[in-house]
Symmetry: C2
Subunit: 204 residues, 2 copies
């Protein structure tokens, strides 16, 4: 029988890797479809708003990576216990996404002069600002980002780690020991460890 879920993205980790982490964590089977760049223009028209990832389930398809993760977190039981707890998770994920977008904007900037400036602001201001606060938050939450236990915020944070290493530098987390330990803890979960060894090796 075909898996009940199909996740379509490019052949990379990017903004789909968090969803893959959640599938693997929960041992939920899914079809991991990786679209070739050449096939994208034709497929683009068939997606809800011209973007990937797209999740398919029960004949329906839907986009938006973070929304997909929130749904999968319910499937694999990595949510909070009440509405406020889920708000705390959601807000933390959105905050990490804010940082991700800033890193991404600096990385993909075409103008060399502007890119240099964006990168300086990122390394000297933005990243320390966010990571100091996330570090303090993790210290208050027994080494997790929220609620004192593993939630999908931790999976979202950790799944983006390799992109972090690549765009910002692999020693970035050395100054933030609680975040570093959190990442190592999530990466050591048997299902995640196995996936990180088995997954396709891609640039991004």
């Amino acid at each position: 029988m075909a898996p009940a879920y199909k996740l379509t993205y490019f052949d990379g980790r990017g903004v789909a890797e968090a969803a893959r982490f959640l599938f693997k964590y929960g041992e939920v089977e899914f079809e991991d479809v990786r679209v070739k760049r050449d096939d994208w223009p034709q497929l683009k028209e068939k997606t809800p708003f011209g973007q990937l990832p797209v999740l398919e389930h029960n004949g329906k398809q839907i986009g938006q990576s973070i929304s997909i993760c929130r749904y999968l977190a319910k499937v694999v039981k990595l949510t909070g216990n009440d509405d406020w707890e889920n708000l705390e998770i959601d807000a933390t994920v959105d905050t990490i996404n804010d940082l991700r977008q800033k890193i991404s904007a600096a990385h993909w900037e075409q103008d060399a002069e502007k890119k240099k400036k964006l990168r300086e602001t990122l390394l000297n201001e933005t990243i320390p600002y966010y990571l100091q606060r996330l570090e303090a938050q993790a210290q208050k939450n027994k080494g997790y980002l929220v609620l004192g236990h593993l939630t999908w915020a931790d999976m979202y944070f950790t799944s983006g780690g390799t992109g972090f290493d690549q765009f910002v530098g692999s020693n970035t987390f050395d100054k933030y020991p609680t975040l570093k330990a959190l990442r190592e803890k999530v990466e050591a979960l048997p299902a995640i460890k196995k996936w990180m060894e088995a997954r396709p090796k891609t640039e991004f």
Copy 2:
């Protein structure tokens, strides 16, 4: 007794207006705190990640406007009936937010030449692309964005409408009659109508 909720934002609609719509819709009392620009630098340090809006409840404070709206939607019962339905709402809200961010980027661009270019792309490509698809989605959903009934996606969409008029043009929705009718329908809800008449008149 003081209201159980306090919402702090600048003196404007911006990304806090959707939360205000939800409070008003559900007749949930809240303190509508509007920070003066002069007071912001001092307050900024006390917010979770240097941003507004911030929601306070039971002695806790939390940021991120869309996460706050998702929480309030549960409070005022404008969510879906199951996890997949809530995914459909979430994805639509994120899509509207993608469009909002693109409009905002064009509006606030400082370089005149670049701004002109961004605005052309916005008016000729981006906005038609998104609104055609949202229009089709609303046609399939009995005039609502998702699920064939009022959800917080409709509140989120409508609350941003005045910003839309202002940045893009008040006749933008004329080409999208289902979206236009949806907006009018939400604005005609008694609690929303009353709020739109009573709310502080601000530029943004």
